[in-house]
Structure formats: structure tokens, C-alpha cells
């Protein structure tokens, strides 16, 4: 699938706005410790997706939110375990290194971060496009990045072989990935919405 130059620019602007929203909500939660970087927006073949967060065997903590409504798809945050513990430190306003394992409290803190950050992003997307977008309750998993991403990829494969991937990282202190992956059937609605804006 291809986007026209105008559609791509409209999408990029919306994504940037969404990430600004997310960064703001994260700043409030973590007193400015976490920022999202400039995004990449591109179509990727699905078979490469399990490897994009440090390789398929890399151990990560992931926060997953399903997306439903006019836009169906997946939103995911992936952190190295060390970064995930750093995020928890920031949330509980403890000095870096305080959290040494991801216990129940840590996992729910991560879920909350994903929830707030993801919702802020999706709200911006919804405002700009007029599409109804509803996130599911967040799920947190600690496991191999490939295994986690694969579960999303298998579902995306039901609609096609590629995905529009919105990808960004966090500031250096928090190595991680933020991924938005709408399914192929939602793309027509997204493109129509972008044309209406453009």
C-alpha cells in the first residue's frame, strides 16, 4: 500500500501531535524524565517485525494496548528490563536503581504508563481524523521480544503482508520502542480521513 505525499505528510503531522500529547502526559507522571523522540512512519513487511526491538530473542517488558473502533490495530511499548525498572523508579519518584525487579507494583506502574501515554496518543489521532478509536485495557508481559511481537504479527497477517509502522524511541535514559500498527482493513478508513484533512 502506498500513501500519497500529502497523505503521508498529514499522517506524520498527526503522529507528531499524538507523540507531543504522550510526552506531555509522561512529563506529568515522571517529572520530565521521559521524552519520546521523532517518529519513523513507514510500511514494513510483517516478517521483519519480530526482530525490530533488539532481535527476536531480546528480553523486554512490553505494554500492549489493542485498538478498536474505526481503527483496529495494536499499540505497544517495549523496554529493556533495565529501562522498564528505570521507568518504575521515575513513577514512584525514587532514585535511579531503586527498582531491581519487576514485581506486581512495578508491572502495574508500567501498565499505567502505557495506558496514559497510549491514550494521549490515540486521543490526538482521534481528534485530528474524526475516527473513533478505543484502546483496550493494557496488558504487561515480560518475555522475548520476538514472541510478543509475533502474536501481533500473526493477527496482522490475516489482512495482508505488511503494516504501517509508526515507530519511535524514548530519550537515551530509557532505551525502548513505541509502536503503532493499524491493521490493513483500517488503512482505507485512515487514508480517507487523511484525504479529508489534506
Amino acid at each position: 500500500m502506498n500513501l500519497t505525499q500529502n497523505e503521508y505528510q498529514a499522517l506524520y503531522a498527526i503522529v507528531q501531535k499524538g507523540l507531543d500529547n504522550s510526552s506531555k502526559s509522561l512529563s506529568t507522571m515522571t517529572t520530565g524524565g521521559i521524552r519520546l523522540l521523532d517518529p519513523k512512519v513507514e510500511f514494513l513487511p510483517l516478517n521483519v517485525v519480530p526482530g525490530i526491538a533488539g532481535g527476536p530473542a531480546a528480553v523486554v517488558a512490553a505494554v500492549y494496548l489493542g485498538i478498536e473502533g474505526d481503527l483496529n490495530g495494536h499499540l505497544m511499548f517495549l523496554f529493556t528490563l533495565k529501562a522498564a525498572m528505570r521507568v518504575v523508579d521515575m513513577l514512584i519518584e525514587a532514585p535511579g536503581g531503586t527498582t531491581t525487579e519487576l514485581d506486581e507494583i512495578g508491572l502495574s506502574a508500567l501498565a499505567e504508563t502505557g495506558n496514559v501515554c497510549g491514550s494521549a496518543f490515540l486521543n490526538a489521532l482521534s481528534d485530528r481524523t474524526g475516527l473513533k478509536i478505543v484502546p483496550t485495557t493494557p496488558v504487561v508481559v515480560t518475555d522475548m521480544a520476538g514472541a510478543i511481537l509475533e502474536s501481533v504479527v500473526t493477527e496482522l497477517y490475516l489482512n495482508g503482508d505488511e503494516v504501517l509502522m509508526v515507530e519511535t524511541g524514548f530519550n537515551e535514559e530509557i532505551p525502548g520502542h513505541f509502536l503503532l500498527m493499524p491493521d490493513q482493513d483500517s488503512m482505507a478508513r485512515l487514508v480517507a480521513a487523511l484525504e479529508a484533512i489534506g
Binding site: Y64, D143, M144, G146, I148, T154, Y157, N159
Partner: protein, 164 residues
């Protein structure tokens, strides 16, 4: 002896006869790794199955390894092509987890269990019922087939290693 690691990506089918070769599916989640091995001829084949049935295919790329129903015959043919004797082939499988347990969604994101069923049924229909398996659950697995010996290792994060 230098180990030669051969990664088996999504939908791929890889094979080997070299004593130093290791076929590896890294980070299996809902997908299934099928390992076929003929101990007499040291032939190993591994497939990384993504979906239960090729009728689900809506894309353009057609990789036989991607679907359970097409992966099994393709893997058997590949093993025989490399000198394996069909009746000696032993099948072992791992994967089919449910990684993301989203409340309120029943069918979505549970392709894992459908994959397990489809891979088992297809193997049985081809007369190679799985001799060992490590499937289901809610965690990822890395599957390594040592072509020289037929050793099959399942490793996990925090749940140790296990030989199949």
C-alpha cells in the same frame, strides 16, 4: 568445531545435514516450530509456522512454511530430498503460546491454540504424529535443533530449558 547457526524466521523452512549446524526458531510466541529429524541420515528440517490454514492467506507472498497445512508436506518433501527416509522421520513441535491475554477478547490473539491443533492434525494426517511437544502456555520459546545429534532444546525466559 564451529557451530553454524541457521535462523528460521517467520514462515521460513530451513534444513541441514551438517554435523555442526543448528536450526533455530528464536522467540516463538503464537507460532509453532516444527522439527523433523532422521537420526540415521542426520537430516534436520525446521519450519516456523505462523497461521493454521492457507485459506487465511490474503497477501501476495506465498511461503509454504507460513501455514500448517502447507508447511508439513513441504517439510517432509525437503527432508526426503536431503536423503531422509520418510518412515524414519520424527516430528517434534513447540510454541503456540497465548502471549497477550487481553480481557474480554476470546478469539482475537489466540491463534496459538488454533496453530497447535492444525499442526498436530496435519502431521497426523501425513503419518508423522508428533513424538514430543512443548506447546501452549503464556510464554515465549526459542527452539534449537542440533542437526548432528538430533537434540532439540526449548529455552524460555525464567522457565529454564528443556529437551524434547
Amino acid at each position: 568445531m564451529n557451530i553454524e547457526t541457521i535462523p528460521v524466521g517467520l514462515g521460513e523452512l530451513k534444513s541441514g545435514t551438517g554435523p555442526n549446524q543448528v536450526l533455530v526458531c528464536y522467540g516463538l510466541g503464537s507460532c509453532i516450530g516444527i522439527a523433523l529429524y532422521d537420526a540415521a541420515h542426520h537430516v534436520g528440517v525446521m519450519v516456523h509456522v505462523v497461521l493454521p490454514d492457507s485459506s487465511l492467506n490474503r497477501g501476495q507472498l506465498v511461503q509454504p512454511g507460513k501455514f500448517a497445512d502447507t508447511a508439513v508436506p513441504a517439510a517432509l518433501a525437503e527432508a526426503v530430498r536431503l536423503g531422509a527416509v520418510r518412515s524414519r522421520l520424527v516430528a517434534r513441535i513447540a510454541g503456540g503460546a497465548r502471549m497477550l491475554n487481553v480481557a474480554g477478547t476470546v478469539t482475537k490473539l489466540d491463534i496459538g491454540s488454533r496453530n497447535i491443533e492444525a499442526v498436530r492434525a496435519t502431521l497426523m494426517a501425513h503419518g508423522v504424529a508428533p513424538a514430543a511437544d512443548d506447546t501452549g502456555g503464556t510464554y515465549g520459546r526459542t527452539l534449537q535443533l542440533f542437526v548432528g545429534t538430533g537434540r532439540l532444546l526449548v529455552s524460555t525466559v525464567g522457565r529454564g530449558e528443556r529437551e524434547l
